[in-house]
């Protein structure tokens, strides 16, 4: 059989459909810079989802667990080799995502004889000030985008757009505090999940997303899921800046 450019396009389309179908139902991840650090938030069943990569780097994603695990370990390996061989200052988000991780994902996606990664991943890097924080979102085809202030990964690109509106409101001035950042992130999560999974909502448009609808949806989701939130702490004196937030730190933002 002769393999033509047409076949290549066709196979990429099939792969894309296959992956996006599997990602649609995934639990979104919201990332946001706040005055005291960087926050990632998602909802999960039992498995942990937000991970420390290096001193000022963390990571979370949605999709296939073992694919995420390969990315996680790949990023940690690269970061620690570099941090030891050069210096911790040389371990940056753009090197980790751009050079260490994304080429491998792109290769897997283009290699029709192998399984592609079924993931959307979000990396966050803490700077000295909120405006120096960086987020990278990484797609299953190896494409990545860098963002400041906030970032989101969700089941569909449209859902991510809706989340971003929540994370960075137009009237927002400067960096929020942790409490505000948590509230925005949780709301954004709910909107991202709803938007990717509720067909009616996409037809009705964003106006139909009332406060009440979001609250009810969150309450439903929290029956089987729990909030996982982690921060990189800008002002801690500890060696480890990364910390999972405790239950009593999360409880104040949950619906009554």
């Amino acid at each position: 059989m002769v393999y033509t450019p047409y076949d290549f396009n066709e196979s990429v389309r099939h792969r894309t459909e296959y992956i996006e179908e599997r990602l649609r139902d995934g639990s979104p991840v919201a990332g946001i810079s706040y005055d005291g650090g960087v926050l990632l938030l998602t909802l999960r069943r039992t498995q942990r989802k937000i991970f420390e990569v290096y001193d000022r780097l963390m990571f979370a994603g949605l999709g296939n667990q073992s694919d995420l695990e390969i990315i996680r370990v790949g990023a940690i390996d690269f970061a620690h080799q570099e941090g030891y061989a050069r210096s911790p200052d040389d371990v940056t988000i753009q090197r980790v995502v751009g050079f260490a991780i994304s080429p491998g994902i792109k290769r897997a996606f283009g290699d029709v004889l192998n399984a592609p990664f079924v993931v959307r991943a979000l990396f966050a890097e803490m700077g000295r000030k909120p405006e120096e924080d960086l987020f990278y979102t990484l797609n299953y085809d190896g494409e990545f985008v860098s963002l400041s202030w906030a970032a989101a990964v969700a089941g569909t690109p449209e859902a991510e757009e809706q989340m971003m509106r929540q994370l960075v409101p137009e009237d927002a001035e400067g960096a929020a505090d942790l409490h505000t950042a948590l509230r925005r992130a949780l709301r954004a999560w709910a909107i991202g999940r709803l938007w990717a999974t509720d067909m009616h909502l996409q037809e009705e448009g964003a106006e139909s997303l009332t406060e009440e609808r979001i609250e009810t949806f969150l309450r439903e989701q929290l029956q089987d899921l729990q909030v996982e939130a982690a921060i990189l702490d800008r002002f801690t004196k500890r060696e480890r800046k990364f910390r999972l937030l405790k239950e009593d730190e999360i409880r104040p933002i949950l619906p009554e």
């Binding site: 942990r48 991970f51 420390e52 990569v53 290096y54 001193d55 695990e69 390969i70 990315i71 370990v73 790949g74 940690i76 390996d77 620690h80 080799q81 941090g83 030891y84 061989a85 991780i101 491998g104 897997a108 004196k237 500890r238 060696e239 480890r240």
Partner: protein, 260 residues
């Protein structure tokens, strides 16, 4: 990317470095080729004392090479992680390299395995790093002796461990010290214990006062130890709350009270 995974399930940082050719094994040079002219920079006196809340580490800041004073701002008390301090004496170059290795090794394990390395595991890792250093030490360079202080969260107490150059580990009940000055003041530790009671019952301030006095005596008896006069020593403590840098004001107040 898949291969990287399979090579390193255990969170072993040395295995990762070896797999990528980043671990430099000290080379054994045949005896006839050993050039004795290499003058290493050495760190001198470091002291670890238990006190009420954990372990206090104090080190002078002098680094010497043969008779020359190379540096008077050397840091010899370093955090390995949030509950472990290392105090180093001997070859400064090798010590810093191994401290960097250990810091990454503990972090790497915790991040890949999603659990902290146990205290026992950390202590064994220090031994392994020292044993790996042996071929250099036998050639007369690169030897260094660490004192490791840790807060044992399970037992709820501070603990002090000292090592020999081959990696043998010993746990100390009240205090530990290393470096050229430490040998000369060994009897003073016992004198303090017998006249003022155990270190582990002292307040931070009392333990600091004793440790500065010990450093001062060491400096009087050992030319390689800077003592406390010209530059304040580095002092850090490890407690259940993590690592605490002792503020300079506190050190200079105590130094002033010692002068009388």
């Amino acid at each position: 990317m898949g291969e990287q995974l399979s090579a390193n399930h255990s969170g072993d940082f040395m295995a990762l470095l070896r797999a990528h050719g980043l671990w430099r094994e000290p080379e054994v040079i045949p005896a006839e080729r050993v050039v004795p002219a290499v003058q290493e920079v050495h760190g001198t006196t470091v002291i670890a004392l238990k006190y009420r809340d954990g372990v206090l580490n104090v080190g002078d800041r002098r680094a010497t090479s043969a008779n020359a004073i190379m540096y008077d701002r050397a840091e010899k008390i370093l955090p390995l992680d949030d509950y472990t301090l290392i105090a180093i004496a001997g070859s400064y170059a090798r010590a810093m390299e191994i401290v960097r290795y250990l810091q990454h090794s503990f972090k790497y394990y915790a991040r890949t395995q999603l659990q902290e390395m146990s205290l026992e595991g950390k202590l064994a890792e220090v031994s392994r790093a020292l044993a790996g250093n042996l071929s250099m030490a036998l050639q007369g360079i690169g030897l260094f002796i660490p004192v490791v202080s840790a807060y044992d969260l399970e037992r709820g107490e501070g603990r002090i461990f000292f090592y020999d150059g081959m990696g043998a580990r010993f746990e100390s009940v009240e205090f530990g010290a290393a470096g050229s000055g430490s040998e000369r003041i060994r009897g003073v530790f016992d004198y303090i214990l017998k006249t003022k009671g155990p270190f582990h019952e002292m307040t931070l301030e009392d333990a600091l006062r004793e440790s500065l006095l010990l450093l001062d005596i060491a400096a009087d008896l050992d030319s390689a130890t800077a003592g406390i006069e010209k530059v304040l020593p580095v002092a850090r403590a490890v407690t259940s709350e993590g690592i605490m840098d002792i503020p300079e004001e506190m050190l200079s107040d105590i130094r002033a009270s010692l002068r009388r």
